[in-house]
Symmetry: C2
Subunit: 214 residues, 2 copies
């Protein structure tokens, strides 16, 4: 019974890791669409959300079934509940990637990102990919140390957002209000995405940390 | 045993309703701080988050204890899991109110909201209060019909956000980039707050709907 439960728990972890791949791919595609004013790619991100949502629903139902059938307690119970929370984080990350893609579609054929901000946005995309990549690795390895190191990485996204907002308000430059509005939201979407990625990793750490050896 | 469980479930519902009051109060205070450039009030919202967070932690632990001890299945299990999700929604709403308050502190003594947007922001604050008020009522009454009606109310916040963004981009007006940046974020914070309020009510509806009578 317990062995079966742990096999199911591993299965849940695998489903989560696959959904982390989807969240990674969604933001990766959204960033490319944003940088290349690529409407087809943006449409793809928007259309893809539905399928990912369904997989989240399956994962959540699987977790609920496990709770009902196996009646776990202590660490096992916390692991299943953490799985539901990580599922919510990852689902939100896909929605944030969709928001980025929607902005591309809304402004098309105009680019959303002014030339002078391309470098910053590219870097935000990289940090987002890096953070979710670490979350994926942590989900697969259950390495609490790696998870805790993510907190520092999150600082980099915060710094990028601050630079972006500071440059938007640079008094020496005349800005198009549309660019300020769009970039304010873009900055916020990437920052939230990073925050959820770090949250996923921390939840793994929270589960992984107190496991006694032997 | 089951009677005790349902008493505990009612207790969870009561804790949720109290936390909905806190989320309502936090945004109410943040809106007042925003409209009156009231730094003390903004500081109060920021300082108050910690205590609310602790109450969320207590609620979540209470729900986990119920899961472990009472091992609920079917609707009872879904109710406890929905409670954890509503707790997460309400906690996020308090964080969004804190974001509004932080903007007040950041720009102080300058007002965040340009005079011409005061009416819109006031209305956003009203709709936010109205939506969380309905969520609170639904939490206390478990009335699925009222919960489903919330969906339409959410549309009003979306419309307010659209008006705000449209006016920010009005070509006939020269805008301070700082005002555009701040108002873009303010619009987003209220919209997210409304979305979470509706989500809370829908979760109640999801639990309340399939209960057979008699």
């Amino acid at each position: 019974m317990r062995e079966m439960f742990h096999a199911e728990l591993r299965q849940l972890g695998y489903q989560l890791a696959v959904l982390a791949d989807s969240a990674d791919d969604a933001m990766d595609q959204a960033t490319l669409a944003l940088l290349h004013t690529d409407r087809d790619r943006a449409d793809g991100v928007i259309a893809g959300e539905h399928t990912i949502e369904e997989r989240h629903h399956e994962l959540d139902e699987h977790a609920l079934t496990l709770l009902a059938r196996q009646q776990p307690v202590a660490t096992d119970l916390r692991t299943v509940v953490a799985t539901l929370r990580m599922s919510a984080d990852l689902r939100r990350m896909v929605a944030l990637a969709r928001h980025v893609a929607e902005l591309v579609v809304l402004r098309h054929p105009e680019p959303v990102v002014p030339a002078e901000f391309r470098g910053l946005v590219e870097r935000m995309g990289e940090v987002a990919g890096w953070l979710v990549g670490k979350a994926r690795a942590v989900l697969r390895s259950h390495d609490a140390g790696a998870a805790l190191a993510l907190d520092r990485d999150d600082d980099e996204m915060d710094r990028l957002q601050e630079s972006l907002y500071r440059e938007l308000l640079d008094a020496g430059v005349q800005r198009d209000p549309r660019a300020v509005l769009d970039m304010a939201l873009i900055g916020r979407y990437y920052e939230r995405y990073a925050d959820h990625a770090v949250s996923v990793a921390k939840r793994v750490a929270f589960i992984a940390a107190p496991v006694p050896q032997g």
